[in-house]
Amino acid sequence: MQRRQLLRYSLAMGATTSLMGHSVFAQNAATKAQVIVIGGGYGGATAAKYIRLLSAYKIPVMLVEPNAEFISCPMSNLVIGGSKTLQDLTTSYDTLAKKHGVQIVQDRVTRIDPDKKTVTLAKGPTLAYDKLVLSPGIELMLDSIEGLQAAHESGRILQAWKAGPETTALRKQLQDMPDGGVYALTVPEAPYRCPPGPYERASQVAFYFKQYKPKSKVLILDANPDVTSKGPLFKKFWSENYKDILEFRPNHKVTAVDANAGLIKFDVQESVHADVLNVLPSMRAGTVATQTGLANANKRWCGVNYLTFESSVAKDIHILGDAMLAAPAMPKSGHMANSHAKVAAAAVVAQLTDLEVNPSPFLTNTCYSYVSDNMVVHVASVHQFNVEEKTYKTVPGSGGVSSEANTLEATYAWNWAQNIWSDSLL
């Protein structure tokens, strides 16, 4: 080959390799990119694992979570009912680190700077990110109800809406309550974390009372006009099994509590006296999201681009789970957060490696509720991305609920828990 020909050949090749090198460059850029995930719940843990999986373990991921272990909120009502322990719902973060190479940092994020793209941890360091995945869950708006903050701090009125020590503390309050007492559970206006959760919890407490304290009562005081989720299924089971124990009262919006007097006050209805008060206030996105100005919907929930779950106000911050402003008919559930996480993880990997983002993702949700220790009802849905409306929509004719409470689905419900914990954390 003559020198001149060689030169021309290499020029042509050079142009090509530089184009070819584009993907190699993107890959190298990805390995240097730092992804930080805030929150190790169903959303965050899943996102951390799937960014690792979908990038063939090339993109480094750090997960910042204040708790030492994952404790599942789904299934935690069974601890209150007495058929499971908190240990049954606990999974270590070790496998995320050892098997998937996620760097686990047990700490709390005190500040996010979306302009400098940094997060500051409670223990001191400020860390830079290329992509931030934010899955902070909910904050209970204790100050929205007069007297609740103080009652909560003294341990007199519990919420137990984040599984952990409060779950067992509420169980203890019920155990300490004499037979003939009243347990009152108040439900805030939707949307709140886990739409069927309050009704499952009331069922579990009624199940416990029926066995051990049959003269006691469960009162559901609901700010909504009716049972928010699986209404006919819950009501049928209650009337057939907990008729003299459980009472549902709609349109009860709590305004104040008096922990010493055991009193709950409402905007319209008569005050109610109870022995164990389980008062759930309204909820909003976790504090770190609201203080960063990401909660642009009613100052409570974080709006996102549903194709990537990137915040609609801050670039390179992807928001998942309960903190996110949900698309129509999308519940705030652990399963949903796990689904969000996978779409977001794929989008983060695509963007960091210069690939096209999935133009038509879909999400699934299956949510089981235990109405006793071995009877279960479910609701399921499929949410397809709608290109014209840039949101998710359920497919007509798809999804649905159980025909009635049954034992077969108790097997599937516990099985669901094992598989989703594994899918999120192992």
Binding site: T16, S23, S381, N419
Partner: protein, 109 residues
Amino acid sequence: MRITFPFLYKTLFAFSLFMGCIQAQAQNAEKLHQRANAAMCANCHGSEGRTVDKSAVPPLAGLPKDYLVQQMQAFKDGSRKATVMHQISKGLSDAQITSLADYFATQTR
């Protein structure tokens, strides 16, 4: 013997490499989307279709593609009874079902 490459051939060669790259990128994107879509089944059927031990729902990894498509269609038309899958399957298009089946068929158990 002296081999020469007329400039046209070289350019064509370069161009085809370039197109190959674009195509490879598109294939990479498609694979990523397929894998992420298939992960929607993982909450119940395990990551990459591999469930926990003694799972009450079946692992999907390694099941034949045709079998997976048939079963999903059977859930859809009601000929296979289920507690949840008849409701989920009705939310998926035929193309999505084929893509999911294709993905799980290629996974090892």
